[in-house]
């Protein structure tokens, strides 16, 4: 199971302040902590970054990879900032992952960047219009994105399909639709398509003390359906322990009494 550490986000006040002040220390500490907790990628969410986006993303990538020897997941809607990040990214520890394209024409240039910079890419199965109603609609959108990715020269194995997890507290029936989508996405290609979710979306809007429980319970169901990767909080030890335990049940890792330590 691939964990994409979600903690470095413009939404977090501490991170935002460090970004604005170009103070690398808090960001490096957060990246390092997530890496040591088992994150395979570190998500770098700088938001729309309309002002000096290129400069900011480049600085973020370089600052983080100074301390963390892992690939990054570059998360911005600003295509030129994204390109600056891809250029700065050190591929020694793995290729960068782009977060994200979709079926919205405004997001198509992002596919071109993935092909140009040999990066992997997350594809949200949403279009320009409203949210997808069910798993079948998500698959239809996925197929359109895959066809377009092919035109841009992005290999299918570099794409992570994201069904877009919606919050359980307001759209309860969507939890099952997304699970089904994870299963159906894999059948769209041989070898199976990779899949990813923004896990904490499921618990958006629920009381804070219940979020971890909801996240990790949903994660086990997603993993059972064959989920490849999750954007999640690796510093949530309970969540990571549940993930490791599920991997034991799924025969992805070999049991030993100390499996949680690994």
């Amino acid at each position: 199971m691939i964990i994409i550490g979600e903690k470095i986000s413009v939404i977090a006040k501490k991170v935002r302040e460090a970004m604005n002040a170009r103070d690398p220390k808090p960001i490096q500490e957060l990246a390092d902590a997530q890496w040591k907790a088992g994150a395979h990628f570190i998500d770098v969410n700088i938001g729309p970054a309309e002002e000096k986006g290129e400069d900011l993303m480049k600085w973020m990538v370089e600052s983080i990879q100074q301390v963390v020897h892992a690939p990054l997941c570059l998360d911005t809607t600003n295509a030129s900032a994204l390109e600056a990040g891809l250029e700065a990214h050190n591929n020694e520890w793995g290729r960068a992952l782009i977060n994200s394209t979709s079926n919205d024409p405004e997001r198509f240039p992002i596919l071109e960047l993935a092909a140009k910079h040999n990066a992997e890419i997350i594809a949200l199965t949403v279009g320009k219009g409203g949210l997808p109603a069910d798993a079948e609609e998500r698959c239809g959108i996925a197929a359109e994105i895959m066809a377009r990715a092919g035109e841009y020269g992005v290999p299918m194995e570099d794409i992570y399909l994201d069904p877009l997890i919606l919050q359980v507290c307001t759209t309860q029936d969507q939890a099952m639709h997304s699970l089904k989508a994870i299963q159906m996405f894999q059948e769209l290609n041989d070898p199976p398509m990779k899949t990813v979710v923004g896990l904490s979306n499921i618990s958006n809007g629920v009381p804070k003390e219940m979020r971890s429980l909801i996240d990790k319970t949903y994660l086990t169901l997603l993993m059972y359906e064959g989920l490849t990767a999750a954007i999640a909080n690796p510093l949530d030890k309970d969540l990571m322990d549940v993930m490791k335990t599920t991997e034991v049940f799924l025969n992805k890792t070999l049991y030993a009494h100390s499996y949680l330590d690994m």
Binding site: L254, A256, D261
Partner: protein, 313 residues
């Protein structure tokens, strides 16, 4: 339509472990494919067979194999030199049998002297094995590690009941270490985790999932070894990537088929050939399941396996 050979490739790799000092030192492991399937990956090193000797006369070995060493086995140094110079041994495994409380109870100091004498007499790599008495090995192997300091030996076996002191000694004196568990892949993994949690590099570890002889549980050993190899290669489990150790001789040369006299079991054929065949077949199964380092007794069985390895590689 032409036939394309299906190939499996793995993300994981068996760790390479070197042992011995100087130009006779050896490397085992490094495989990125299942045993002998070199077309699927790299198999840079052949399995190594160490000739077993012990620190006292092999009174408990059956005659077939005891006779092979009758002129040299009274003294471990002579025996070691015989293996190196006459039998072209690649490595020697010295078992400190006489330190066992029931087999003479020799002290750790005496064992250390034997080790020093053997090391001074040969230049091929040395594997130092305790008497497999949990408490006694804890002190004997600590002294052994010190006596062989700087020689990059393989010492063992560290088990659940005594690993802490043995690991510390191997760490302090820079030896490779055999970690042994009893025919259970999950326990093998657990012991490797516990040992590495003490700060011992997994790159210096060798796993012994416990051997057995043909007809006496060999299929369990085979299956555990094969699953260890698959966990290391296919699941890329770093705790399951050390090379595998097979203590073949001690399990083979006590079973009925290698001991029973011809007049007792006339249908079974010549005793001498039977014993060699039994050790050869057991060891063949071991190398096919992924064993990288074997300890064997009969010179002809060892020759058979070395020949088989050369043919398969």
């Amino acid at each position: 339509m032409s036939f394309v050979v299906p190939k499996e490739s793995f993300n994981g790799k068996v760790l390479s472990v070197d042992f011995g000092a100087g130009d006779k030192s050896l490397v085992i492991g490094g495989d990125s494919a299942l045993p002998f399937l070199a077309f699927e990956g790299e198999i840079p090193n052949k399995p190594v067979i160490a000739h077993e000797i012990q620190d006292c006369a092999p009174d408990d070995w059956p005659e077939t194999v005891r006779n092979e060493y009758k002129d040299v086995s009274g003294d471990p140094v002579t025996w070691a030199k015989h293996c190196q110079d006459q039998l072209n041994a690649k490595a020697i495994a010295l078992r400190l049998v006489s330190t066992h409380p029931d087999r003479g109870d020799r002290s750790a100091e005496e064992a250390s002297q034997t080790i020093k004498d053997v090391l001074a007499a040969v230049n091929i790599p040395l594997i130092i094995l305790g008497s497999n008495h949990i408490e006694k090995d804890a002190s004997v192997l600590v002294s052994a590690a010190e006596a062989a300091s700087g020689q990059n030996c393989v010492i063992g076996k560290a088990q659940e009941g005594n690993y802490k002191t043995i690991v510390a000694a191997a760490l302090a004196h820079n030896h490779k270490l055999i970690a042994m568990s009893e025919l259970d892949i999950n326990l093998a993994k657990q012991l490797n985790i516990l040992i590495t949690q003490m700060g011992f590099d997994k790159e210096k570890l060798i796993t012994d999932p416990m051997c057995s002889a043909l007809g006496y549980g060999l299929e369990y050993t085979y299956s555990v070894m094969e699953r260890i190899r698959l966990a290391g290669l296919a699941q890329n489990d770093p705790t399951m990537q050390p090379p595998i150790f097979g203590d073949v001789g001690m399990y083979v040369w006590k079973v009925k088929e290698t001991v029973a006299e011809e007049n007792e079991v006339p249908d079974w054929g010549t005793l001498a050939e039977r014993g060699v065949a039994w050790e050869t077949l057991t060891a063949t199964s071991m190398i096919l399941s992924g064993t990288n380092l074997l300890v064997m007794r009969h010179p002809r069985a060892i020759e058979n396996i070395e020949k088989t390895v050369d043919e398969l590689v």
